[in-house]
Every structure is written in structure tokens, then in C-alpha cells.
Symmetry: C2
């Protein structure tokens, strides 16, 4: 199988169609890169692009994106509900196939170095690429936003990993990093009692004593009049979906509440579901090489 | 996604390495065809080849295979434990992706017509491609084997679907058809009592009142000293694996016996496992388009 990385750049433009299209064109015309999706929000004045490709292709696509965005987006005239600090606000690289987190960190650093050099923009490395713990969290880096960044960067704690010690006049600063694939997974409960969903969310999420790599909160679904445990799974390999599903079921039992369904928001890597199939079917010899399509892909690349 | 068909030709040669290699070369040098595997059995004096490809490529590969096999294999000198009637004994086409059974039947008929015309070999269509019920079953067609075929074909009931009314002198007759992907799936029981495995097998298999598309028998595993329900699933779409697993568990409960594991023999299409994941995780909005890899494949083919 070929090396495959996902990249989800966020740009600070969600209104001007011609600028958004120019950015899509910049990333989608590179060999080895497949453009999957764009999602623009005019209120946020922000667009999220989804790309998949090999490391070399993605590097070129992201450099192209900075070139276009820096030319067309001026943060001095930018307003929107979503916090932002740069024309290209944040660029995460996500390992998908035949690629390690370490390779994505390396790619993030290569791209960061070139972005700083070519466009004179300060770059902060974040998440798995962060140089120190206080830079892992994107929100901490972005605090103060574009308008407060010049002042913030006078503090040596906020010297960027690459590039100058002050923001680019129009393009601000940018964060580039590596993180794991995020699965958005919601479990529907057979109750209208939001307090039960909240209690289950607290029981299963990492921060309050539950499973690692799980973020959760209770949500009430108006249209169905039921409560839901809404979750972000930040590492489906270390904390597989079936474990979360079974724990939610076990916690719900405490209230005599059944799980009546679940849903995946966005996309899920097939491995995340195949691991759950192997668990429930109790397959002793499960291995990705048992999957016909993997054999075909393997043979086709030889 | 591209059209993808599996083809598993069986040839009557499992000993002479140079003949087997020539046959592999004949099928594996065609654009649009990926050669996955060969499995030779000297006792059976038979080799099973596994190919995957698009319809046009597979048609060419199979014509090439007949050309090579007819030139190099003479059934008058062939001995082996496995029943056989032709140099190329049987060729099934199996729908994998973006292809219907009907398209595989059409492909089988096209190949059959050309094999008969070019090599003067009688061809019987079987399984989903069969012209009548008594020709669905390959064993019925092959009964009498190479040595008895000239006599058998004097009966108008055994006039071939294509080609002459008597066997080819050295290459015999051949069967070409279409069938569904077969999944070999075994369930391990927490008991050494083979009678319990036999009873469960009878309860779950189609022929004795169980699930459609399931063949099953009890087997004793000497090395582990446990009994197993050994199954062939002849249509994993209509009768998904989770349904079989849950029914085996339910029948085993009757004896207080737990299911301690399962195993997949050979390969399984990913869809067969993804469907089971969707069942157990209760995913309300499950659809193959939720799978990241499918989106990538889709986009790459646009």
C-alpha cells in the first residue's frame, strides 16, 4: 500500500467565493494529492479543506496554498466568529496509511521551515509536532488572536519555532502540526433525560475519569426528543470504538436506559470499524491482510 | 470506484512447475489484471489461480490461460485425487465492486463463446450462468470426469452450451460460470464435544432448517482439543456474518457452551466485516461513503 496522509488546512476566508476557489485550485492541481472536500462557514468567515496524498505532493500543495492565501487574504480586514491568527490559520497532518506520526511530524517541520523562509511568516508547531507541552494545544497558541499577536510575541515564551519574531503584517502567524485522525461519534439513548446523557459523558471521557482519547458531552436532540452522548475520539487505534460503545452501554444500564443507535459524523477510517468487527465476531486470526481489498491494493503496487 | 471482478481458474496441473509458471505468466501480464495468488496441490495435481481485474482485462487473461493450458496439459496423461474434466477445469467469475452478478454472467458467456470458437472445446455454463437448474451444480456437470465425458455427451441432456458435441482430445471439456464470493468462516466452541458442534451446524445451515446461504459441519480440532462449527458462507450480502455469529451463539447457549473465537480462512471482502461493525455498533447512518478510504478511491477516479 502507498503512503497516505490526510491534511486539513483551515483558511481565514469563508465568504469571498473567488478567494476560496483560488485556494482550492492551489491545493488540488498537484500530482499525488486528492482534494476531498471544502466546508465554508460565512459566519465563522473560515473554510476547512480536506486533502489526502503522499508526503511530497502534500508539501507542494500546502506551499501553493500559503502562496495564494497570503496574496489574497488580509487579516486586518477580517471579521468572523471563529478565533483566528493567520490567513492560513492552521495546517494539521494526519497519518492514514503506511505512515507513522513521526513521519507526519517531520513533514510538518519541513513545511513549517519553508513557509517561514518563503513568506516570512512566524510558524508555531503544535500537537504532536510541538516543541514543548505548552504549545501542544492550538487554543493556547492562538490566544490573543491576530490583533494581539504582536504584543504576545514580545514575550520570549512565544518566540515562534520558525520565522520572524513578529507577525506578518497581513497574513499574521500560522500553526502547523501533526495529530491523529479524529472520529466524531455520537451514541443515541432511549431517554429524553439530558442529565443521564451528561452523567454518562462524564463517566466515559478521559478528563473526568473515563477512557483515554475520548472527549464527550451530553446533547439533547430536539427533533427526536432523545438525549445523546456526543463524542470526539482522538485516537481510535489506542481506544477503539467498540470499547467506547460497550462502556456507554454499561454506564447507561445504571439508569435502565438502552442504547438505541449511534452515528458517525464526517468520515471514519475503515480500520476503526474493522477492529470493532473483529472484536464482536471474536475473530482470532484477524489481520488487515485477510481483507481482499488490501491484498488487491498491495499487489497493484508491486 | 472501478469495476472489479475476481476470477479463480482451476487448472489440471499441480506438479510440473514450468507448466504452472507458464499459466501464471499467461494471466499476469495483462493490463487491468492483478495476479493475487496461486495454490498448487501435487496430490490433487491441480492449481488454483486467483486474479482480480476489470472485465476486459480478465477476458484477455483467461483466453491467454486456455491457450497456454491447452498447449501444455494433456488429460490423457493426467492423474490426481481431485475430480477433473478439462485442462482448464473450471473458471468462475465473482463480482467484487461496482459489478453485478448479471455482468459476471455476461462475461462468463462471452469468454465461453470465444473459448469454444478458438480452441474447439465444449463449454458448460454453471452456477449463476447456468442455462438450466441441472447445470447449476459443477459436480453434476463434472460427473464421469474426463474419461467418461465422450459417452456422457452422447446424451442430448449434456449437449454443451458452446462448442462441439464431443470432448477436445487432450483438453477435455470446461466449465465457465459466475458465482458469489465465498467466505470460509469457522466458529470455535468452548467444548470438546463434537456432537454439540454437529448439532449447532445442523441448526444454522440452510439444508437442515437454518440460515440461507450457509453450509456448515462440525469439526474436532485435535491440537486445541475443542469442537468447531466450520462454515462456508455463499452469500455474505444476503446473509451477513453477524447474523450467523449470533445464531451460533444462541444455539450454543442451549448446551451452556460459549463461543470462544472465530477465524476467517482465505480472504474476506471488507464490506462483509464493515456490515457486522455497523450492526454491533448500531450505526444508524452507516453507508460505505462514510469510509474515508472509499472517498479517497472515489475522488482519485474522478
Amino acid at each position: 500500500m502507498a503512503k497516505l496522509i490526510e491534511c486539513v488546512p483551515n483558511i481565514s476566508e469563508g465568504r469571498r467565493e473567488e478567494v476560496i476557489e483560488a485556494c482550492v485550485k492551489a491545493v488540488s492541481t498537484v500530482p499525488g494529492v486528492v482534494f476531498l472536500n471544502k466546508s465554508s462557514d460565512p459566519d465563522h468567515n473560515r473554510t476547512v479543506l480536506t486533502l489526502v496524498g503522499n508526503p511530497e505532493g502534500l508539501k507542494q500543495a500546502i506551499i501553493n496554498l500559503y502562496e495564494t492565501a497570503v496574496a489574497k487574504i488580509d487579516l486586518r480586514n477580517h471579521q468572523g466568529e471563529h478565533p483566528r491568527m493567520g490567513a492560513v490559520d492552521v495546517v494539521p497532518f494526519i497519518p492514514l496509511q503506511e505512515v507513522t506520526t513521526e513521519e507526519c511530524v517531520l513533514l510538518a517541520k519541513e513545511v513549517a521551515e519553508e513557509v517561514a523562509r518563503r513568506f516570512d511568516i512566524p510558524v508555531f508547531l503544535y500537537e504532536d509536532a510541538a516543541a514543548s507541552l505548552d504549545r501542544k494545544n492550538l487554543a493556547a497558541i492562538r490566544k490573543g488572536q491576530f490583533e494581539g499577536m504582536a504584543e504576545k510575541m514580545k514575550n520570549p515564551q512565544w518566540k515562534p519555532d520558525f520565522g520572524p519574531n513578529q507577525p506578518h503584517p497581513s497574513a499574521g502567524v500560522t500553526a502547523i502540526g501533526a495529530r491523529f485522525f479524529l472520529v466524531a461519534y455520537n451514541v443515541q439513548l432511549g431517554t429524553a433525560d439530558l442529565k443521564i446523557a451528561d452523567t454518562i459523558a462524564k463517566s466515559v471521557r478521559a478528563i473526568s475519569g473515563g477512557l483515554s482519547n475520548v472527549k464527550a458531552m451530553g446533547v439533547f436532540l430536539e427533533d427526536r426528543q432523545i438525549a445523546q452522548v456526543s463524542m470526539n475520539l482522538v485516537n481510535y487505534k489506542k481506544t477503539p470504538i467498540y470499547r467506547i460503545q460497550e462502556l456507554v452501554k454499561a454506564e447507561a444500564k445504571r439508569w435502565g436506559v438502552p442504547v438505541i443507535g449511534s452515528e458517525i459524523i464526517g468520515l471514519v477510517p475503515q480500520e476503526a470499524l474493522l477492529d470493532s468487527a473483529a472484536y464482536y465476531l471474536q475473530i482470532e486470526n484477524y489481520h488487515p491482510s485477510l481483507i481482499l481489498e488490501n491484498q488487491v491494493a498491495e499487489a497493484a503496487h508491486e
